[in-house]
Amino acid sequence: MVGIVVVSHSQKIAEGVVELAKQMSPEASIAAAGGMEDGSIGTDVSKIFAAIKAVDEGDGVVILVDLGSAVMSSEIAIEMLEDSNNVKIVDAPIVEGSLFSSMESSIGSSFEEVIDVLARARVYKKF
C-alpha cells in the first residue's frame, strides 16, 4: 500500500488531518510528522524521516506539506533515505490531499495513481 506522510508546522494540524483521513480510510498507511519534538511549532527532519519509514511498505510514499520549511525539511528527509526513488513530495492541499490519497491508496492503487489523485485534489472545487 502506498504510504502517506502529513507534514505540518503544527503537530495538531498533522495529527488532526491523519485522524480525519483514518476516519474515512481506517486501513490507510498514513502518519503525521507535525511540529518539533517538544510539540512546538516548526518542522523536524528526524520526525519526517521516521514517519516515512513507518508508512513505507515498498509501494511508494507521498508526502503532503503545509508550507515553507515543510518542503525543505521533507527534501532533506528524502535525501537521507537509502532508496528515495518512490518517495515524493506532492503539491496539494493537505486536508483534501490526505483524504483523497488515503482513500485511493487503501483500495490498493499504485504510486502513480495516488499521485494522479493528488493532482486532482489540487484543483478540486468545494462548491
Partner: protein
C-alpha cells in the same frame, strides 16, 4: 589555517551570539516574517552545544555535518534546512580534515553557499541569507588574494556581511513569508542576512583570538 579547536570555538561563539541576539533577530522577523527567527536559531544552537561533546574526537567534517544534522531537526523554521544544509555541505567539502588551510576554509564557505542556494532556490538580491553571505565570501577571497591573513580577511568579510544586511533594507523580499508583504518589506533588514552576518563575526573573533 584553522584547527579543530578553532572550529569548535567558532560553533560555541556563534551559539552564544544566537542566545544573546535572540530577541533582536525575533524582532526583525516579527516586522516582516513569522517572528521566530531568533527563537529558532537559539533553540537549534542550544541543541548543538548540548550534543557537540559526542563528536569532540571526530574530524572537522564530522563535526560540521553533525551540527547540520542537529539544526535540521531542532531549528524548526526555514533557517533549519538552510543553515543545516550549509553546515552539512561545508563538512562534506573538508572530508577527513583534522585542520583547515585557508583554501579549505574558502572551499567550505563556497560549498555552504551552494547548499543554501540549492535548498532555498534563491539568488542574491531576494532579501535572504545570501545577501550578507555572498558579499562576505567575495570579500574574504579578495583579501586573501591580496596577501592578507585569514584574520584580516575575516574583518573584511564581516564588514561586507553587515553592508549586505544594510542592503537588504532597500530591497523587496521575494522569498519566504516576507514575500507576502511585497513593497512593505522595504525598510526592514532581513533577519536571515543578519544571523548570517554573526557567522562572520564569530569566525573573525576566533581568528583574532588565535592570530591566524
Amino acid at each position: 589555517m584553522a584547527t579543530k579547536s578553532d572550529v569548535l570555538d567558532f560553533i560555541r561563539i556563534y551559539a552564544d551570539k544566537m542566545a544573546e541576539h535572540r530577541q533582536e533577530l525575533t524582532d526583525y522577523d516579527q516586522a516582516i516574517g513569522d517572528g521566530d527567527h531568533g527563537i529558532n536559531m537559539s533553540r537549534g544552537f542550544k541543541a548543538v552545544i548540548e550534543k557537540l561533546p559526542a563528536v569532540y574526537e571526530k574530524n572537522i567534517d564530522e563535526i560540521l555535518k553533525t551540527v547540520g544534522m542537529i539544526l535540521v531537526s531542532t531549528v524548526g523554521g526555514a533557517s533549519g534546512p538552510l543553515y543545516g544544509s550549509a553546515f552539512m555541505k561545508a563538512g562534506a567539502a573538508v572530508k577527513g580534515k583534522g585542520e583547515l588551510s585557508n583554501e579549505d576554509i574558502i572551499l567550505a564557505f563556497d560549498e555552504a553557499v551552494g547548499g543554501i542556494q540549492f535548498r532555498g532556490k534563491a539568488v542574491e538580491g531576494e532579501k535572504t541569507i545570501l545577501d550578507s553571505m555572498i558579499p562576505a565570501i567575495k570579500a574574504i577571497k579578495a583579501s586573501i588574494a591580496d596577501g592578507k591573513s585569514m584574520a584580516e580577511a575575516l574583518v573584511d568579510g564581516e564588514k561586507a556581511a553587515w553592508d549586505g544586511v544594510e542592503y537588504t533594507k532597500t530591497i523587496i523580499a521575494t522569498k519566504g513569508r516576507a514575500s507576502y508583504l511585497g513593497e512593505r518589506s522595504i525598510g526592514h533588514q532581513d533577519p536571515g542576512a543578519t544571523s548570517m552576518a554573526y557567522v562572520f563575526q564569530a569566525a573573525k573573533e576566533v581568528a583574532e583570538k588565535v592570530g591566524c
